[in-house]
Amino acid sequence: MTNDLPAWSEPFATGNRDHLGRRGPWGAVDRSWAFGDGTGRGLRIAIVDSGVEASHPAVGGRLVTSVAVERMGEDWSVVETDPLDVVGHGTASAGIIHALVPEAELVSIRVLGPDNRGNGGAFAAGLQWAVEASGASVVNLSLSSRSDAWFAPFHELADLAYFRNVLLVCAANNVSVASYPSLFASVVSVAAHDVPDAATWFYNPEPPVEFGAYGLNVDVAWRGGTRMVVTGNSFAAPHIAGYAARIRGAHPGLTPFETKSILAATADNAR
């Protein structure tokens, strides 16, 4: 186990952000240009998580598809499922994204549940479906696999997404361990900062975790039509997914790396 890794949120903590003070050659890029009308109209965003509760007020009726990964013998297959959330976490992500891009369509891919227990195979099958079949241009992943056995399959999927013009936004694991695909170069990797503001994000020029977003004491939607106040990198990622969706909605021709560059250009430490 790699216990000597830095805590991924550390670069974004108050008192540690001096090294983020930088300005790229981004003079002409500001958030109003980057976001356009900021509605996410015409976009689709996939949420690979514990499911999304379609009826939750925070989701705004924008959930258009709900699938789950199920075990079929040795394989995994993706099947349509009731729009429910077995934990609440996926609904929290959906609510954060919907608040940022209210007109975007949401797709839920449930990879957690009694039958798959966060299995790497289920996660990979769900991610592959998100990239190939969901129609999403942004995929939010609040989970990642720590298993070295899954390094190569997830690397392939991250490349597949990149080549298919799908942006993967991944929460870094809160525990300082290597996890995939969150630490691959082609994805947008996110940890939490400690500024109580959803509109603040930082770009960290020292990878692997390049973005810090709102993830401390976030008021989120949860299972059963409820809300909770929560902390973790997995609540920071959907904020960046939402802003990435605004950018892709306003500039449909952008590729994932161009979108990432604009996220960096519009980060608080680049302005």
């Binding site: 186990m1 790699t2 216990n3 000597d4 890794l5 830095p6 805590a7 949120s9 903590a13 514990s50 077995v86 934990v87 609440g88 976490h89 957690l112 549940g113 009694p114 227990r117 966060g118 609040s142 989970l143 696999s145 720590r146 298993s147 070295d148 056995a149 390094f151 929460a171 694991n173 809160n174 525990v175 300082s176 361990v177 290597a178 996890s179 630490l183 939490a192 400690d194 692997p208 993830g215 401390l216 004491n217 949860w222 299972r223 059963g224 409820t226 809300r227 909770m228 106040v229 929560v230 902390t231 973790g232 990198n233 997995s234």
Partner: protein, 261 residues
């Protein structure tokens, strides 16, 4: 050896296995008391009302609270809950730690479970207990840090406690598993007293591999493979060592993936 003698030996082995299992339950000592001290230390460090360590029971696929510390912790020991539901279930299945700062906002938060312990927390910090790649349990800290609540750095700090708990669990594992291996082997023998050596060997092999559950660590699968290789070709042990050595070198290589600074 006479049949009576064989039966007597079998009976003696059964008696030993029964006592080993009973003693393990009566005095889980080593492991359990260190786990308890981890929970107690978490209570002290986080100024918490309670801290608990739940471990995964693969047979029932549930999380069972093994130890708890703090004024409100005692009632929780022995409680079991599904391994894929609720806050602890999410942390266990995803390996992603989580802080919930205000659970009272959610009336459906596992209130039934919380109330059976006599304590309903306001905030929860939950981190996975990891053995290599696999989650083997969850460490939870309830209502720590006073009014300020848990911060981001607390996730890291709690993870260190999780690593301690993992080390304790793994250290006690072989001992517990050997008892179980002996018990299950004897049960198999009792089912089929006429089984020959090859059949028994295959049975022991299957039982040993089954001890791994689905945590992905594969300790017993490895032990079984090594044991079988030694039995099959005693003069080839050095070859087995060489193969393992090569695998170890390969495993130690991916420095590019560890992001050390």
């Amino acid at each position: 050896m006479s049949e009576a003698r064989e039966a007597a030996i079998l009976q003696a082995l059964e008696a030993v296995a029964a006592r080993a299992a009973a003693a393990g339950r009566l005095e889980p000592a080593g492991g359990e008391s260190v786990l308890q001290s981890v929970a107690d230390a978490a209570v002290a460090v986080f100024d918490a009302v309670a801290a608990s360590i739940a471990l995964h029971d693969p047979a029932m696929d549930r999380l069972v609270i093994r130890v708890a510390g703090g004024p409100a912790g005692a009632g929780a020991v022995g409680l079991a809950f599904p391994s894929s539901e609720g806050i602890a279930g999410y942390v266990f299945t995803t390996g992603q730690p989580l802080v919930v700062s205000d659970v009272s906002a959610d009336p459906r938060f596992d209130r039934a479970t919380a109330e059976t312990t006599g304590y309903v927390p306001r905030s929860i910090l939950a981190v996975p207990i990891l053995a290599g790649d696999a989650s083997i349990g969850v460490l939870e800290v309830l209502d720590g840090r006073g009014q300020a609540g848990f911060g981001l750095r607390d996730l890291d700090l709690a993870s260190a406690f999780g690593r301690q708990a993992a080390a304790v669990v793994l250290a006690g594992r072989v001992e517990r598993d050997v008892t179980e291996l002996l018990r299950l082997t004897l049960a198999r023998l009792a089912e089929d007293p006429d089984a020959d050596g090859a059949a028994l060997d295959a049975a022991v092999s299957a039982i040993a591999v089954g001890l791994d559950g689905d945590d992905g660590a594969g300790l017993w699968a490895l032990a079984d493979a090594v044991a079988r290789a030694r039995l099959a070709a005693p003069d080839q042990v050095s070859l087995v060592v060489e193969i393992l050595d090569a695998l170890a070198r390969r495993g130690a290589r991916p420095a590019a993936r560890t992001f050390r600074r």
